[in-house]
């Protein structure tokens, strides 16, 4: 780990609300996208990265008007905030930096001030009274900086008396920025790869095939059992859609091997798809309905082509939100459709199972039915805690009852490990703190905000490390895994403590050796 260019917060044992320090995060800014990147995903680009296009002001206001007419969330959230301050201490980026523009209400206010100026009576005629502002170049700069210091984690929306979700405002802000040529390199470049090649890494089909074969050999060497990781198998029962990081990144691959073993042990026929080799969907991060839909369409097409009966989603937080909450809307993966578009797919899917289904739901069902055998003691070197990923916790569900997303992953973990401890109540469940790297922030040019934003989670983790000797942070999100891998060393923890829930499953599961 290179010496950081910034001060890493000290762990104190408590999550403390910092004093307001204006401008404390004003120097943190991610690299903007160039015109080439912008165009691939349907947005204009200026002559230089970050250069605004001609007529940007009017185009930005027109886009804001368009979004206000299309999204009730934005419309209501712009009007309803009373500046009560209840959300001000809820954002991990504020807790980590003290920069007041990272308070959720202040982040919204960057847009609300312009909304007031252009779309409300009070703001048109009495701007200074209500804090209305013209959209200047400086304000656009602030939008870019602070809308890319929000991980769209929705923690603020839990605590706002009107449920105002700053993530919705951030998404709208990013979409407006994209419309005037000011996109973010990291997110938009990945979006483009997903459109062109089918996954965020730009890993083409043959390379994927090779990787999977390599992993099959690894499993065979380690277990003596020929667990398959099938690709593009027509007529398989289950299509697994998983984040592409699962194919090669550590510790992600460990979970992929875990899924493979679960499918193997339960005798489920399954397949991956080279066309839809990505669960992640950064279209949501930039608020673009069109891009989110276009990316998700690959999954619909793969499901139709392969003729699968079920669609299961691997360990990825925002992907699960898109899958659980949006797929039925966007691409008809779900039930209850009455239109030809959705019926075409839904009549093919097996109605006995929810579509889509989370891999934890899938595994937990098998555990409940007694179809999987484990030796928990194989995980005895681990003392485990579980981090609720924000998009799973506050933007989706698992199982039949509200809050199932908190219960099911823990049930899976407890079925495969003996030593489990939760972190403090106010830092998990619906109040979970983001890893600090979600929502388009997982890039090295934002390392400082990633490290600082992880502070509340690191405090909570440190407390269970001190009290219970926890040495494994179990995750169900590809971004959480990559983020913690990078960030925990800054706080003095070992990278090896970061891993997936299905990594734990993989360790403990007992596979029957085929008789020779």
């Amino acid at each position: 780990m290179a010496a950081p260019q910034f001060e890493v917060p000290k762990l104190t044992g408590n999550i403390e609300v910092p004093a307001v320090k204006e401008g404390a995060a004003a120097h943190i800014k991610s690299f903007p996208a160039n015109a080439g990147i912008q165009e691939i995903i349907g947005f204009p680009g200026g002559s230089e990265p970050g250069e605004l296009i001609d007529g940007w002001h009017d185009k930005a206001i027109a886009k804001m008007g368009d979004l206000l007419g299309r999204y009730r969330s934005l419309r209501v959230f712009m009007d309803a905030c009373v500046h009560c301050g209840a959300c001000t201490d809820k954002c991990h980026y504020f807790i980590g930096t003290g920069d007041p523009k990272n308070m959720p209400v202040a982040r919204q206010e960057l847009m609300r001030s312009v909304y007031r100026r252009h779309f409300t009576f009070a703001g048109k005629y009495f701007p200074s009274l209500v804090g209305a502002k013209d959209l200047t170049k400086e304000l656009v700069e602030d939008w870019y900086k602070y809308y890319y210091q929000c991980s769209e984690c929705r923690r603020c929306s839990v605590f706002c008396p009107y449920g105002i979700d700053t993530a919705e405002v951030t998404m709208a802000g990013r979409e407006i920025l994209d419309t005037i040529g000011y996109g973010q390199k990291y997110t938009n470049e990945i979006m483009g790869k997903l459109h062109k090649i089918g996954n965020n890494l730009g890993l083409p089909g043959p390379a994927l095939q090779d990787t999977l074969e390599g992993l099959e050999e690894d499993i065979l060497d380690a277990t003596g059992v020929a667990v398959k990781l099938p690709l593009d198998v027509k007529g398989a029962e289950v299509l697994l859609i998983t984040p592409s990081a699962d194919f090669f990144a550590e510790p992600h691959v460990e979970s992929l091997m875990g899924y493979g073993k679960v499918f193997h042990a339960s005798g489920t026929s399954w397949t991956l798809s080279s066309k839809a080799s990505e669960a992640g969907n950064f279209g949501m991060f930039i608020g673009s309905y069109e891009n989110t839909r276009r990316a998700a369409m690959r999954i619909r097409e793969a499901a139709l082509e392969l003729g699968v009966k079920r669609i299961v989603v691997g360990e990825c937080g925002h992907a699960w939100r898109v899958a659980y909450s949006f797929w039925n809307t966007l691409i008809g993966v779900g039930a209850g459709g009455t239109d030809p578009f959705s019926i075409e797919l839904q009549k093919q899917l097996d109605p006995r199972y929810p579509a889509p289904q989370h891999i934890c739901e899938f595994t937990n069902d098998l555990i409940k039915q007694g179809k999987l055998k484990f030796d928990k003691s194989l995980n005895d070197h681990r003392v485990v805690t579980f981090h609720d990923s924000c998009n799973v916790a506050r933007g989706s569900r698992m199982g039949d009852i509200p809050g199932g997303q908190f219960i099911i992953p823990r049930e899976v973990i407890k079925a495969v490990v003996n030593n489990y401890y939760d972190m403090a109540e106010e830092t998990i469940g619906e109040s979970t703190f983001c890893c600090g790297g979600g929502g388009g922030i997982l890039t090295d040019d934002l390392l400082e905000i990633r490290v600082k934003g992880a502070l509340p989670r690191m405090e909570a983790l440190n407390n269970v490390v001190q009290d219970h000797k926890v040495n494994f942070l179990a995750l169900i999100c590809a971004i959480c895994k990559a983020q913690f891998n990078k960030v925990v060393p800054f706080y003095g923890f070992d990278m090896s403590m970061v891993g997936g829930v299905h990594q734990l499953v993989s360790t403990a599961i007992l596979l029957e050796k085929e008789e020779e």
Partner: protein
């Protein structure tokens, strides 16, 4: 008819038109704007009945605020409940005979006036004392609190310090409602009180007071969590299904 009576009659007619017209326009706008995606803040109820309960808890108890910040909750809830009681109490100036439940609420209404001002005082203090809240406060945030405190104290003044001609006031308002003007008592405290109330009505549909209708339209609170069971599609998104847009490339 005195100039004062005519002036206040005009002011209240105008204020009522702005208040009702503005609110109706806003509510129509909220209702007509589609919510294209399912975005309830989860865990969320999976049934409509559950959503009604969730909303009822938000509106009656400020459930999320309670989770969030006990001080704001205490002052805010005190203020709103008191305001509700005060409004109920005021209904007796607009009804003849007075409805029985309005009559029943009278004793509580008296003390609610003090509680309301106390709650507002607490909320206002936060705007000076807490650095985060100070940072986000705009002049209008202060002025709205000042306006409500002004309404409260001028009202309490008439009740406990310098009584006004209540029967005359009631006749004036009953007259307004039947378009049959009656003289308005010209007591300065009353005139201040009424002016401030008219001002509150006028700013209601153009200010953050829109939180009152807004909360009912907030998609994170009013949506059911049933996205896997039901397909949810905004009118503007239907075209994607039909068009060639059904291909990813």
């Amino acid at each position: 008819m005195s100039f004062l009576t005519v002036l206040y009659a005009c002011v209240f007619y105008a204020a009522t038109v702005i208040f009702v017209g503005g609110l109706v326009a806003k509510i129509r706008c909220y209702a007509r704007t589609p919510a294209p995606l399912k975005i309830p803040t989860t865990p969320a109820p999976t049934t409509t009945g559950g959503v009604v309960l969730r909303m009822a808890r938000e509106v009656a108890l400020f459930e999320s605020l309670f989770k969030s910040n006990k001080w704001i909750w205490l002052f805010g809830w005190l203020f709103h409940v008191s305001l509700l009681l005060v409004i109920v109490r005021h209904l007796r100036y607009f009804t003849e005979p007075v409805w029985f439940w309005v009559a029943m609420a009278q004793p509580f209404g008296t003390y609610a006036g003090f509680a309301m001002v106390a709650g507002l005082g607490g909320l206002w203090a936060r705007r000076f004392l807490v650095d985060r809240v100070r940072y986000i406060s705009t002049p209008s945030d202060h002025l709205i609190l000042l306006l409500l405190i002004g309404i409260g104290t001028s009202g309490l003044g008439m009740r406990f310090v310098n009584h006004t001609d209540i029967v005359g006031v009631k006749n004036f308002f009953l007259g307004l409602m039947t378009f049959n003007l009656q003289p308005l008592p010209s007591d300065p405290a009353l005139l201040v009180h009424l002016s401030l109330v008219a001002l509150l009505m006028v700013i209601f549909p153009i200010s953050k007071l829109l939180h009152a209708p807004g909360v009912f339209f907030s998609p994170t609170r009013n949506q059911t969590d049933d996205s896997r069971e039901r397909r949810h599609l905004a009118p503007w998104a239907v075209k994607f299904d039909a068009a060639s847009g059904s291909k990813s490339e």
